[in-house]
Every structure is written in structure tokens, then in C-alpha cells.
């Protein structure tokens, strides 16, 4: 008799790893998104070039390749990361590159008119960004950030390829041990969907909160 409750709790442990990866990866992605997104709008050529290179590189190569590099090639350069660190790093940098474009787009979408009003009021660049542009850009970013976070969640399935015991990996283990395919895979599909659902519900909540004042400003 197969001890399903035991195997299901194995899968739940995998869910925990997936959750960790998603949360930590998102945090890293968020930081990178703002660094690179705002960097790309910088006045300084060097900063712009750096940000652009990062963005194009990580959007250009596949997440799989990035994972393999971080996991198998970086150690030869003297950096050995745990699988979790490698996963967070690869996922965070990858999704961060996409989210950086969201930051840039949202900041630009706020419109020249707001920038000009700031100039007329003699605000400095920093003050303009901090008090006027970002507060308006943030709500614009949220829906896409939500998509990015879900992409990242789904991306964690890929880390099973570097032996990180996440949901998908645990499902594979359970499958090998029990010989049953349907149950572990159906379980993780539901778990993934539940997590994605939680992400979008909380993002929508956040968005509603942030745009409460902006009702009717944007259509």
C-alpha cells in the first residue's frame, strides 16, 4: 500500500521550497527592476549602458542557460552557490530584467506634462522622481509586476533541473517511488494554480489601494 499522505507531505515540502524561491526571487527581481529600469533612464551614458546590457543579456538568453551557468559554470570561477541561492539568483536576475522594462515604461507613461509641471515648480530631479513620478508610476506597474511574479513562480519549476527539491522535483520523486503519474502531477498543478491565484488576488488588492485616489484619472 502506498503511503499517500507521506508522499503528499513530501510534495508540500516542495511547495515550501517553491514558495521560498518565489518570494526571494521576487524580492531580488524587484530590486533589479528598479535599479536597471531607472538606470536606463539615467542621464549618464555609462549607467544607461550598464543597465541596457544587463536587461538585454538576461532577456536575451534563456532562463535554462542562465541556470546552468549559475549552477555549473560559476563554481569554476570560484563561486559555489547552494541550489537555492543559484535558483534565486538566476530567477531574480532573469525576471528582474523583464520587470526593469516595466519600470521604465511606467515612468515614461506618467507623461511629459507632469515632468514639466515639476520643472515649472522648480523641483529637482530627485524630488520629481520621488514625489511626483514614482507615486503615479507605481500603480501602473503593479498589474505587470503581478504577471512577472506569476512568471517567476512558474519559472521555479525549471529549477528542478538543477536538483532543487521544489514542487515539480518532488512530484518527480514521488512519481518514481510510487509509479503513479496522475496524482503527483495533478496535485502540483493545483498547488501552482493556488499560489498564482494568491499572487493575483493580493496584487489586485494592492492596486486598488494605490489607485483609490486616482479614480477616473486614467481610463
Amino acid at each position: 500500500m502506498i503511503d499517500w499522505s507521506g508522499y503528499l507531505s513530501l510534495i508540500l515540502e516542495g511547495a515550501l521550497v517553491t514558495l521560498q524561491l518565489t518570494v526571494m526571487g521576487s524580492a531580488l527581481a524587484l530590486v533589479m527592476a528598479f535599479l536597471a529600469g531607472l538606470g536606463r533612464l539615467s542621464r549618464f551614458f555609462l549607467v544607461r549602458a550598464l543597465a541596457t546590457t544587463y536587461i538585454e543579456f538576461f532577456r536575451g538568453t534563456s532562463i535554462f542557460v542562465q541556470l546552468f551557468w549559475v549552477y555549473f559554470v560559476l563554481p569554476f570561477a570560484g563561486f559555489t552557490l547552494t541550489p537555492l541561492q543559484a535558483g534565486v539568483l538566476a530567477l531574480g536576475l532573469n525576471v528582474g530584467a523583464y520587470a526593469a522594462e516595466v519600470v521604465r515604461g511606467a515612468v515614461k507613461a506618467v507623461g511629459r506634462e507632469q515632468t514639466e509641471a515639476c520643472t515649472a515648480l522648480n523641483l529637482s530631479r530627485y524630488q520629481r522622481m520621488r514625489h511626483v513620478i514614482l507615486p503615479q508610476a507605481l500603480p501602473l506597474m503593479l498589474p505587470t509586476f503581478c504577471n512577472n511574479a506569476i512568471e517567476l513562480l512558474k519559472g521555479t519549476a525549471v529549477v528542478s533541473l538543477i536538483s532543487l527539491t521544489d514542487l515539480t522535483f518532488q512530484a518527480q520523486v514521488v512519481r518514481a517511488q510510487t509509479g503513479n503519474t496522475l496524482i503527483p502531477f495533478t496535485t502540483i498543478l493545483i498547488l501552482y494554480f493556488a499560489m498564482a491565484w494568491v499572487i493575483s488576488v493580493s496584487m489586485r488588492w494592492l492596486e486598488r489601494r494605490m489607485t483609490r485616489n486616482l479614480d477616473g484619472v486614467r481610463i
Binding site: 536575451g60 534563456s62 535554462f64 519559472g155 496522475l182 498543478l189
Partner: protein, 219 residues
């Protein structure tokens, strides 16, 4: 471990073999995504609530769960109900349907972005709904969609390595197979990265061109 150029030249033909499959899978997947996506977009606008809701939920589900797991499902579980697809076909359908949920959103946004005034002008000109779609709405909705669709095309390309999980001998799988039999990861994986990067950089240029060519027409 040192970089070995001889090894690089030796494995290049095999990698190119895989690259061909990668391209084939991407192109076929894109075709599936384009067609199914349109079907989803139209079904989601259906006045019958049951249809639009169901399609909405299924799309959300597909979009909220990893492609990798979906591929396992298609490849290993579907045969139980008598649907046995070849690895490439399963991969093309998996990746195509997954991305159809994304292209459906592009179609929807493109259609909704046509100002309401255009619908009204079409009505005031006494066109039928069909005529309005064909002569007024779609000609305006489609060009702005093209860059976004192309973007997903590139994203699909970068996700083809997942097909290795269902035994499609694409670029990544060939590289892994080379790595496995020679115990050298650096050269094959780096080359895969270079392949992806080169294609991506070329497509970024192509995308810019598309964006310029199909920039929104302003009234």
C-alpha cells in the same frame, strides 16, 4: 576546466541539428498560439456567460501553472485517455496553447484599444457588425498588436528547452546529451547561451523595426 575550441567545432554540427528543431518547434508553436489565441479572445467576448467564464477560467489556469508540468501532462497522462502525440507534436501543442492564453490578451487589448468612437462611427454609417469588424476595427486593431505578438514569439523561442523534458531533441537536449557523454558542461551550455543571445539580439532589432513600422496610428 579549460575552454576547448576543438571540442567546440566537434560538437557544432550536433548543436545545429538541435537548433533546427528548436526553430521548427517555435514556428509551429507560434502558429498554434496565434490561431488558438484568437479563438480564446473571441470566446471570452461571448455574450453567453457560461462560455466566457469557462474560457476565462481555463486560460487563467493554463497561465498560472508551469509549462513544464503541462508538458509532462500532455506527454505522459494524455495517452491514458487514448491521445498519444509524438514528442514534437505534444511540445508544439503544449507551448502553443500555453502561449495562446497570452496572445489572447494581446488580441483583446488590441481590439479594446480601438476607440469606442470608431464603433459608433461604424454604426452611424450603418455598417453591420461584421462589416464594422472587417473594415473598421480589425484593420486598426491588428497593426499595433504585431510588436506584442512578436514579443511572445521570442519568449516561446526561449522556452523551447522545456521540450527536452518530453524527449524532443532540440538545442538544449542535444547540448545536454553532449555534456552527458563527454562530462563537459561548459562548452555546450555556453554555446547554447550564445545561440539564444544571438537570435534574441537579432530579434530585438527586428522588434524595434516592427514597433516603428506599426506604431499606433494617431487620429
Amino acid at each position: 576546466m579549460e575552454w576547448d575550441w576543438d571540442f567546440v567545432w566537434q560538437i557544432m554540427p550536433t548543436l545545429l541539428e538541435g537548433f533546427k528543431i528548436t526553430i521548427l518547434a517555435t514556428v509551429l508553436g507560434a502558429a498554434v498560439a496565434a490561431v488558438i489565441g484568437l479563438a480564446l479572445a473571441i470566446a471570452r467576448r461571448s455574450p453567453i456567460a457560461a462560455v466566457s467564464r469557462t474560457v476565462g477560467f481555463v486560460s487563467e489556469f493554463i497561465r498560472g501553472t508551469p509549462l513544464l508540468v503541462q508538458l509532462y501532462f500532455i506527454f505522459y497522462v494524455l495517452p491514458d485517455i487514448g491521445i498519444r502525440l509524438s514528442p514534437l507534436v505534444a511540445g508544439v501543442i503544449g507551448i502553443g496553447v500555453h502561449y495562446a492564453t497570452y496572445t489572447a490578451e494581446v488580441y483583446r487589448a488590441g481590439i479594446e484599444n480601438v476607440p469606442r468612437g470608431q464603433w459608433e462611427a461604424a454604426k452611424a454609417a450603418n455598417l453591420t457588425t461584421r462589416q464594422a469588424w472587417i473594415h473598421v476595427i480589425l484593420p486598426q486593431a491588428v497593426p499595433p498588436m504585431i510588436p506584442a505578438l512578436a514579443n511572445y514569439f521570442i519568449a516561446m523561442f526561449k522556452e523551447t528547452p522545456l521540450l527536452s523534458a518530453i524527449t524532443v531533441l532540440e538545442l538544449m537536449n542535444q547540448a545536454k546529451s553532449i555534456a552527458n557523454s563527454n562530462y563537459r558542461y561548459i562548452e555546450p551550455m555556453t554555446l547554447v547561451g550564445v545561440f539564444f543571445l544571438v537570435v534574441s539580439l537579432i530579434s530585438v532589432v527586428g522588434l524595434r523595426w516592427l514597433e516603428e513600422r506599426y506604431a499606433r496610428m494617431d487620429d
